[in-house]
């Protein structure tokens, strides 16, 4: 018997939803009310369920806390889990991403932050070290800020080797082949329509990247206009936007086990960040983005709110669960890979982050 746990990070607190069938959900009382929760993770490696939360107080700043008892108690390292050193000349603004590594690296957790930086923990997310290779990268001074801030919002360690991909807004995709020691931009083929001339080596506003479940060299990217696939670990990217109602959006999800299956949540355009015709829908491909199918059963119409880049996730169930949350504070779950959705919660604050996991019941 497994229980599904859905961590819902919003602009004003965290909720934990649980379900025995991924259809009927129980919603917790709010945790960290009035704190922004831009990142959550549910780390189930090693037989323990650890919920990690990147929270931010408008007054008291950002921090990372964790719970090993599904929110009954929370711990925060006194010195802070992620802090710049005195010589770095920077202060942590926001933790955008908390990404547990694979099963074979049980203590390793990555974080992507604002200002643009990547961090690595070897102790299950209690203390993180700045990844110096990226922080000291000669491009760093030229990376810019999107509307939400200048952040590394995606960190994707490879399950098979020391490759790590990072995506940042704005800066694009960078890849390390040596576990973060050195980094190179990997944006060939990704547009940057907001910049004059041909697309640059870096500077793209990549919104989200996901790694294919079966081919670790295959990546999918939702760009600030543009949906792409790379079959060579990011060396080159080709458009897979044909068949979608729009190439704009924030979400990119890959199936947890099956290669070639991915989901996006299109929005009309940069200048019209709402679902097309006000119909909230995910679009799924089962062939690596060659063709797409709309999935909207159970999702609302007359809905003019965006789904942000981390306000969507999949779980590892079979069939896989698909989850999304909107800036209207509505959260939807599908227990059948997007075929039908049920509403988990509504009228919460803006949903910023969602992560789901199946844990022993």
């Amino acid at each position: 018997m497994e229980t599904a746990v859905l961590a819902i990070g919003t602009r004003k607190g965290l909720w934990l939803a649980t379900s025995d069938d991924r259809t009927a959900w129980r919603l917790s009382q709010p945790h960290f009310l009035m704190h922004e929760i831009p990142s959550v993770a549910v780390d189930t490696r090693g037989g323990r369920t650890r919920v990690l939360v990147g929270l931010r107080s408008e007054h008291w700043g950002p921090t990372v806390v964790h719970s090993d008892d599904l929110g009954a108690t929370w711990s925060e390292p006194e010195q802070g889990a992620i802090t710049f050193g005195a010589d770095d000349g920077a202060a942590l603004e926001r933790v955008w991403q908390i990404q547990p590594d694979g099963e074979d690296r049980p203590g390793v957790v990555w974080a992507g932050c604002e200002p643009i930086s990547v961090w690595r923990s070897a102790d299950h997310g209690e203390h993180f070290d700045l990844v110096r290779g990226l922080w000291d990268h000669p491009h760093r001074g030229e990376w810019g800020a999107g509307y939400g801030g200048a952040a590394a919002h995606t960190v994707l360690p490879s399950p098979v080797d020391d490759t790590v991909h990072v995506a940042m807004s704005t800066g694009g995709v960078y890849r390390s082949n040596d576990a973060g020691t050195t980094w190179r931009p990997r944006n060939s083929g990704i547009s940057a329509y907001f910049m004059p001339g041909p697309a640059p080596e870096f500077g793209q506003c990549v919104h989200k990247v996901a790694r294919d479940a079966q081919d670790p060299r295959r990546l999918y990217a939702q760009n600030h206009h543009g949906v792409y696939r790379s079959d060579d670990a990011g060396d080159t990217w080709t458009s897979i936007a044909d068949g979608l109602p729009s190439d704009f959006g924030f979400v990119m999800l890959a199936h947890p086990r099956r290669g070639g299956t991915l989901w996006v949540v299109p929005l009309v355009a940069d200048g019209e960040r709402v679902p097309p015709q006000g119909r909230l829908a995910v679009h799924r491909s089962d062939d690596g983005g060659r063709t797409w199918t709309e999935q909207a059963d159970g999702l609302p119409t007359g809905h003019f709110n965006a789904v942000l880049r981390d306000a969507a996730c999949v779980d590892t169930g079979d069939p896989a669960g698909v989850y999304l949350g909107t800036r209207a504070g509505d959260v939807y779950a599908s227990a059948d890979e997007g075929a039908a959705f049920v509403r988990v919660a509504d009228r919460l604050p803006d949903v910023l982050s969602l992560r789901a996991a199946l844990v022993p019941g």
């Binding site: 602009r11 009035m34 107080s57 408008e58 007054h59 008291w60 700043g61 921090t63 925060e76 006194e78 010195q79 802070g80 802090t83 710049f84 050193g85 005195a86 770095d88 000349g89 920077a90 202060a91 942590l92």
Partner: protein, 113 residues
Amino acid sequence: MVTPDGDPGPASRGTDPDGLGVVLRVPRALAADLGGRREVVLPVPDRRRLDGLLDALVPVHPALARRLRDETGSLRRFVNVYVDGLDVRRSDGLATPVGAGQTVEVIQSVAGG
């Protein structure tokens, strides 16, 4: 004077009746980072400045120290600090003099949506 929420009034020196130290007073939201208290008496810092007082917090109340200043040492944007009722941003900022018998009060500013 004690207000209904237990907040000692601005003239109170109940925790430091001799006035030999510096009283640091924090809002309710930060009490957990001060061992459940709203007030602590700290030694007068060597430099007799606010930054010295806040530096002294780091080893004994590191979480509280992080709430007040970021890693560059700057006061967080929406943290207001008053020394005997004077907003340090209208004085010398972190270089504002702090001495024996004075009260340093942290108040969260109006922020949030």
